[in-house]
């Protein structure tokens, strides 16, 4: 049977895997944002820079693998629970704990990764109030630094709590696994947030310098 098609020529949509969702910049009307404004630039000129990029690629591979395992794992685990309950008529009480374990890793890896992709939910009316691109860049840079500082403060308390849980040697009720496995997700998540906000700030700072330079050059030529 032939599939009926809408008359006009089909549009090839971009893969959802590549669509950024909260990464938008209504000021620049660009979606996704140009890479020089997010945490990871697309190219590096210095040797150290290239090394750091390579290092980040390794980290990135690890993060993505963990996210993949946690995401698919959660879906299959929960599905397994339903099967266990109805087919085998024996719910295994540890599944919910394990599901929450995968859940918190999803949440905090996701938060860290959202920072890398500059995909935290944010407002977008600065350009309606300010039009000078240098000023907009400055506001952005200040925002990234403030976010990083906030991530540092919360990361400190998160680590303190996670370590408290680990030191006390608390065990989960059903699985009797160390509670540190759960709270450890916060340490990783906040470390990612701090790190990527730092990189983002550096990139934005360099962008600001570039903007200034081009403006000065333009003023000189005039």
């Amino acid at each position: 049977m032939q599939e009926p098609h809408v008359s006009t020529a089909p549009v090839q949509p971009e893969s959802i895997g590549k669509t950024k969702i909260y990464n938008y910049d209504p000021d620049l009307s660009q979606h996704p944002l140009p890479p020089h404004l997010s945490a990871i630039p697309d190219k590096e000129s210095t040797a150290l820079g290239r090394f750091l990029i390579r290092f980040e690629q390794v980290l990135n591979w690890i993060f993505r693998s963990l996210m993949l395992c946690a995401g698919l794992g959660l879906a299959f685990l929960m599905f397994g629970q339903i099967i266990m309950r109805y087919v085998l008529e024996s719910p295994f009480t540890g599944i919910e704990e394990a599901a929450v374990l995968l859940g918190v890793w999803i949440y905090f890896l996701g938060m860290g990764y959202a920072t890398r992709e500059r995909e935290h939910i944010h407002g977008g009316v600065v350009s309606l109030m300010v039009s000078d691109p240098v000023k907009i860049s400055l506001i952005r840079l200040a925002g990234s630094i403030v976010s990083m500082l906030a991530a540092c403060i919360f990361g400190y308390f998160a680590c303190k709590y996670a370590l408290f849980v680990i030191e006390k040697g608390r065990m989960s009720i059903n699985l009797q696994w160390p509670r540190g496995l759960w709270s450890g997700s916060m340490i990783v998540g906040f470390a990612m947030m701090v790190g990527y906000f730092l990189l983002e700030s550096i990139n934005e700072y360099r962008d600001l310098l570039r903007l200034r330079r081009t403006r000065q050059q333009r003023e000189c030529t005039l």
């Binding site: 209504p26 935290h120 944010h122 976010s147 308390f157 759960w182």
Partner: protein, 433 residues
């Protein structure tokens, strides 16, 4: 209370200068807890505990399922199916967009998957057929809200978990408002375009051919149309909790995408999973810091004081509901839908209970209000996303957006507020609520 208002002012300023909403609330919370002399060391553990709830796992799973279906190729089948009904009337393509967003809403828990799936195809198509680009973008952005109103719905999950309500009942409460809004947007779309000479329309088919088209496209969309039945059937027959139903949706969407619709490959499955986790992260960051903020507020009895202030204003149910509506609209403008749901649950739900208003009715009020929040600037993630997909700047689509919202969404907000039957009919029918 003064300190609280100052903290909130700081939050608003931070959001206005585009600091991520999550961190704006985090900073506000610490500032507030610190200045009121509360112990801030328990803020993080509280956020972590609240985030570790089992029921909240429905959130990543419903996001995942929606993205999988969008990637799998469901959107084209749904589009073709709807197109077979209304494609050949003037403004029909716009109606296709609206209806497909609503149908997509029955699969996806959030609007973004609808924009990615429907918007990417429909905005270029509408533009090609003579629709003004601003109109097309605004239509996609506004209709994406339907994905929140038709269950499953992430903000409704968040609202009911924060407020301690039944997720199942909250899901049902926004269905009728969602359907009404769908019809209104279809009507508005046609009305806005009535005098536009550029719109191309294909000649209508003879009844027989049209029926064959509907049957064919319905057959091809069958796996997609089955999905909402499976999700809602599992929840309302008591086979599964909403969380488990979300897992069923994911496990269903994977083979359908891989083998039936073939839009999904093993490679893109990986990319979609990472995308779903990242999107969950964006939302959870906001939730996590809002849980912290709410904790700081509750430590200082802020919701209680706000309730007293509001009830001191009037003790008439309708007046209070009207006031709450205005506040929800304001909150919805400044923040996104997720933040709005948490704030509504901690600030207004106690007042609602005190007044003897049905909390499930209020869930629908919150749902329609905060659906608006997602597309009302300054914090309007779905609006900006649609703009990104349509490759337009804000000033090109803000006017048609406001027209759709004021003539379509706003009336629904007040209708839902003052006619409780709209939201309570289905929960009563299906849950004996």
């Amino acid at each position: 209370m003064t300190l609280f208002l100052i903290a909130m002012l700081v939050v608003v300023v931070l959001i206005l200068i585009e600091i991520p909403v999550a961190f704006a609330f985090g900073i506000g919370a610490v500032l507030f807890a610190y200045t009121t002399g509360n112990n801030i060391s328990f803020l993080i553990p509280h956020g972590f505990k609240t985030a570790s709830g089992f029921a909240l796992l429905a959130l990543p799973l419903f996001i995942f399922a929606g993205l999988l279906m969008a990637e799998g190729g469901i959107s084209e089948r749904l589009l073709n199916f709807v197109n077979a009904f209304v494609g050949r009337i003037k403004g029909g393509l716009g109606a296709v967009t609206v209806l497909t967003c609503a149908l997509f809403g029955a699969i996806s828990g959030s609007s973004s998957a609808a924009i990615a799936a429907v918007g990417q195809i429909m905005i270029p198509r509408m533009v090609r057929e003579g629709y003004p680009a601003g109109h097309a973008t605004a239509l996609v952005a506004c209709s994406s809200v339907l994905a929140l109103l038709i269950p499953p719905s992430i903000p409704m999950i968040v609202f009911s978990i924060t407020g301690g309500l039944s997720v199942g009942a909250a899901f049902l409460s926004t269905i009728i408002p969602g359907i009404l809004l769908t019809l209104i947007y279809c009507g508005l779309n046609i009305w806005f375009l009535r005098d536009n000479p550029n719109i191309k329309v294909e000649a209508p088919l003879p009844i027989k051919q049209a029926t064959i088209n509907i049957a064919k496209s319905g057959y091809h969309a069958a796996f997609a149309l089955l999905m909402p039945l499976i999700i809602l059937g599992a929840i309302y027959s008591g086979i599964a909790t909403p969380t488990e139903a979300a897992a069923i949706a994911v496990i269903y969407a994977i083979p359908v995408g891989l083998f039936v619709y073939k839009g999904l490959s093993l490679r893109s499955l990986g990319a979609v999973t990472v995308r779903a986790v990242t999107m969950t992260g964006s939302i959870m960051a906001v939730l996590f810091f809002l849980f912290i903020m709410s904790r700081a507020m509750i430590m200082e009895q802020v919701p209680k004081e706000l309730a007293e202030a509001l009830l001191g204003f009037s003790d008439n149910k309708l007046v209070i509901l009207f006031l709450i509506n205005i506040l929800l609209l304001l909150i919805g403008m400044i923040v996104d839908d997720i933040s709005g749901s948490v704030l509504a649950a901690i600030i207004f739900l106690p007042i609602i209970n005190q007044l003897g208003i049905d909390p499930i009715h209020f869930a629908a009020v919150v749902g329609v209000n905060l659906g608006l929040g997602n597309v009302s600037p300054p914090c309007a993630p779905m609006l900006y996303m649609a703009g990104g997909v349509g490759k337009l700047s804000l000033d090109k689509y803000i006017t048609p957006t406001l027209k759709f919202l004021c003539l379509g969404h706003l009336p629904i907000v007040f209708l839902v507020t003052f006619v409780p039957e709209l939201s309570l009919f289905l929960p009563r029918l299906l849950l004996g609520y």
